[in-house]
């Protein structure tokens, strides 16, 4: 699948265009304007001896059918290709069927038409021009009317209005999710993982929800998806339950869908790394500027941990830095703000939510393991200009801000001043520095080809591609936080390059492990292709990004086989690696030793 298509909307838009064409044609014909009567031509072709009314109905049915089919074609292959407003995209597309209708279909209909062949109606000639130019002109005009209506009506093929969410499951909730015999490993060592892409930010001031699980078909094919994880030989799955559909209000949860999914995971022996907040919030919590968000998410985390006591791995909030940046600094998602204060507010709330969620889960499950997934970012100044270097240095500090607050690491004095200037109270900063949630944390560092950026001579960040690579960037994060690490996300937009990228990422992991950094997992993200991530989910266009181990038809991609190959090649060796518990214990001992040394 190359495009996510809203079928019913495309069909309705195509039919509406056909109706608009016929209304225009009928009015002009009644007014005496020479205009080609397409519907009656089709009707008399289909039913040559029927009454005019019946012929019109038959012709209209064919006209609607053809309009709908071309509209689906438009939705698949043409929609959002041209950088035009939708109505003009539709009009431009009309130039595809228009010459076919004028030069091929119209003359061929003449050859098929019984009334023309019997001489009762005149023929329009080989290319439909012998009756004068009004026929081709009116066919052209009809197509333009149809195309403009189609373009006007067919928009936003993915996502849904926030006040009309999809219904996931009609089965009533059980008191407790069914748990069958578990086949999951008892001791967790190196984790080869994938993930189900689950982002759910809102756009258009909170009115439209981009829901990747819906766009990628997971709600429909979730059983297949889980089976595919096992088919590849994987056990660990980054899985983000749809928070916005589960968390209906304070103390109100709809667990139906997750009950079924979690029972199937348990049956298949899949170990989920539950990703509790992935770039979005339920409607009633509005956005990340809301100070009630941290406590509300902590309540959700506690409720989820209570309901699924067998779940041990959690990502409380995914990529806090990216979430705050795209929501509050770049104006793309959720609150869609573009100011520093809003960014700082979002970071404060996301980091506080993360802390409270980890504490809430640890209360329910003291041996829970937290995979704090963050985007591995780096900013390189382009030139020795002090101003450019200052920007890069500031961005290189700011990328750490949410993790600094989460892990109670004192921020750089410039960053402290920045926080103060943009509304972070001293007491709140002090609160963060007093928390200690690191003990059972693994730091996940995600890496994509756009994560390294150049600060250009205008002070703007430009994507650099892979300059230093995951080894260097993750190393910076490790030296700052000294936590066990995991490569928690990577993929490649060019499907041909997927295997090469996979192996190169893996060699980064191997090298950093050889230097003594405790890396406990690797993830190709995601299981299936994604939708609209090439534009950072800023618009619901429906373009499929071929980044998955499987495409959206659930057919394997080359990178899926490469990952299977990699897991088989290295799985047995890493099956003897230290357990996660041992790695966490060592990290704690190292932290204590370093604290003593620092104190001394």
């Amino acid at each position: 699948m190359i495009r996510s298509v809203a079928y019913s909307r495309a069909i309705l838009a195509g039919m509406a265009g056909a109706v608009a064409w016929e209304i225009t044609a009928r009015l002009l014909i009644w007014a005496g304007v020479p205009f080609f009567d397409l519907v009656m031509t089709l009707g008399t072709l289909t039913l040559p001896n029927a009454s005019p009314g019946v012929s019109w109905l038959a012709g209209m049915a064919v006209h609607l059918l053809v309009g709908a089919i071309w509209a689906v074609f438009y939705a698949y292959f043409f929609w959002s290709v041209l950088p035009l407003r939708p109505v003009f995209q539709g009009m431009a597309f009309a130039f595809v069927p228009m010459p076919l209708a004028i030069l091929i279909m119209h003359p061929q209909f003449d050859l098929m038409h019984p009334l023309i062949q019997s001489g009762q109606w005149p023929s329009s000639g080989l290319f439909g021009l012998s009756g004068g130019v009004h026929e081709p002109l009116s066919i052209g005009a009809g197509h333009l009317i149809w195309g403009s209506v189609l373009g006007l009506l067919y928009t936003r093929p993915v996502g849904y209005p926030t006040n009309r969410p999809p219904h996931l499951s009609k089965r009533p909730a059980r008191a407790r999710p069914l748990i069958s015999s578990a086949a999951a490993p008892s001791d967790h060592r190196f984790m080869f993982a994938t993930g189900i892409e689950c982002s759910y930010p809102t756009l258009e001031d909170g009115r439209w929800r981009m829901d990747q699980m819906a766009a990628c078909g997971h709600y429909r094919y979730w059983r297949t998806d889980l089976q595919l994880v096992r088919d590849l030989g994987l056990r660990y799955l980054r899985y983000g339950p749809p928070l916005h559909l589960i968390y209906r209000g304070p103390g109100q949860y709809d667990w139906n869908f997750l009950d079924e999914v979690s029972a199937e995971m348990h049956r298949l022996g899949i170990v989920p790394i539950m990703d509790l907040c992935h770039f979005g919030l339920p409607d009633w919590l509005q956005n990340f500027q809301n100070p009630e968000v941290p406590q509300a998410l902590a309540d959700y985390a506690r409720a989820l941990a209570q309901r699924y006591p067998w779940v041990r791995f959690y990502t409380p909030v995914n990529e806090m830095y990216v979430c705050a940046k795209l929501s509050a600094l770049e104006g793309l998602w959720n609150e869609q703000c573009r100011d520093e204060r809003a960014f700082v507010t979002a970071v404060r709330h996301l980091a506080k939510a993360s802390v409270l969620m980890m504490q809430a889960i640890a209360t329910e499950r003291p041996d829970a393991v937290f995979v704090n997934s963050e985007s591995g970012e780096f900013y390189q100044p382009c030139c020795p200009d002090p101003k450019i270097r200052r920007i890069a240095a500031f961005e290189n500090e700011r990328r750490f801000l949410p993790l600094d607050l989460l892990y109670a690491r004192p921020v750089h004095e410039d960053t402290r001043a920045y926080l103060d200037q943009h509304g972070m109270p001293n007491e709140e900063y002090a609160w963060f520095m007093q928390q200690d949630v690191r003990q059972r944390s693994i730091l996940g560092v995600d890496y994509y080809e756009w994560n390294e950026k150049l600060i250009d001579s205008n002070g703007q960040a430009q994507a650099l591609g892979e300059l230093f690579g995951w080894y260097a960037i993750a190393g910076q994060y490790y030296r700052r936080y000294r936590r066990p690490m995991m490569h928690t996300e990577t993929n490649r937009m060019d499907a041909r390059d997927g295997p090469r990228w996979l192996w190169r990422q893996w060699h980064n992991v191997e090298l950093i492990r050889q230097t003594g950094v405790p890396v406990v997992g690797f993830t190709w993200y995601s299981l299936t292709d994604q939708v609209d991530w090439d534009i950072a989910l800023r618009e619901p266009l429906g373009t499929v990004n071929p980044v998955g181990l499987f495409d959206l038809n659930r057919d394997p991609r080359m990178v899926g086989l490469a990952y299977q190959h990699l897991v088989r090649l290295f799985g047995s060796e890493l099956g003897k690696a230290l357990t996660i518990e041992e790695v966490l214990a060592r990290a704690s001992q190292t932290a204590i030793w370093e604290a003593r040394r620092h104190h001394a």
């Binding site: 098929m112 057919d555 394997p556 080359m558």
Partner: protein, 182 residues
């Protein structure tokens, strides 16, 4: 254009056999199309024009549609497996084949069009129906032709195994380390 499509992930991949699936689907789809062609007597005039029987024309049509199915699999590759869009791709392909094949050959090139009236309509209907059936059955047939998710020795493992790390076919070629620089 082709490179763009490949970058978009339309390559069928090592577990799929789109041309074999297209050949079988194209042949299967000929059954309803032939029924329409015979019902509308669309094969009679072309058979007379080339001096053969309707049966021979039917066999020739089946052979051509087998090739058409292979062409469909080769062109659409991974996209042809789309169970939601297959009908559309197939029907569009059937329409294009009608436009590029029978129209010039039977209607434009001869002194007079060979097909008129219902036989001409039958040919269009048959091609649309063939394409529709082709697009619908292709994913179903292809599902049974997929090889498993097992790693196979040989060329596939080169493209998915560790050597894939040095694949540079999407990048600027690197100078070979075996040859000394000029």
């Amino acid at each position: 254009m082709l490179r763009m499509l490949q970058a978009h992930g339309l390559d069928a991949g090592p577990t799929q056999r789109p041309i074999a699936a297209g050949a079988i689907a194209g042949t299967v789809a000929t059954v309803p199309a032939l029924a329409v062609l015979i019902g509308f007597q669309s094969l009679d005039a072309p058979a007379r024009a080339i001096g053969t029987t309707a049966l021979a024309a039917s066999l020739a049509y089946t052979g051509l549609m087998l090739l058409g199915g292979m062409l469909y699999g080769w062109l659409f590759q991974r996209a042809a497996n789309d169970p939601r869009g297959g009908w559309l791709f197939g029907m569009a392909f059937g329409f294009v084949l009608w436009m590029l094949g029978p129209i010039p050959l039977l209607q434009w090139l001869p002194d007079q069009p060979i097909l008129r009236g219902y036989p001409a309509a039958g040919l269009l209907l048959a091609q649309l129906l063939w394409g529709l059936a082709l697009g619908l059955v292709f994913p179903l047939i292809h599902r049974h032709l997929h090889t498993g998710l097992e790693i196979r020795p040989g060329s596939e493992s080169r493209s998915t195994g560790p050597e894939a790390a040095v694949q540079t076919h999407v990048l600027r070629p690197l100078p070979s380390s075996r040859q000394p620089p000029p």
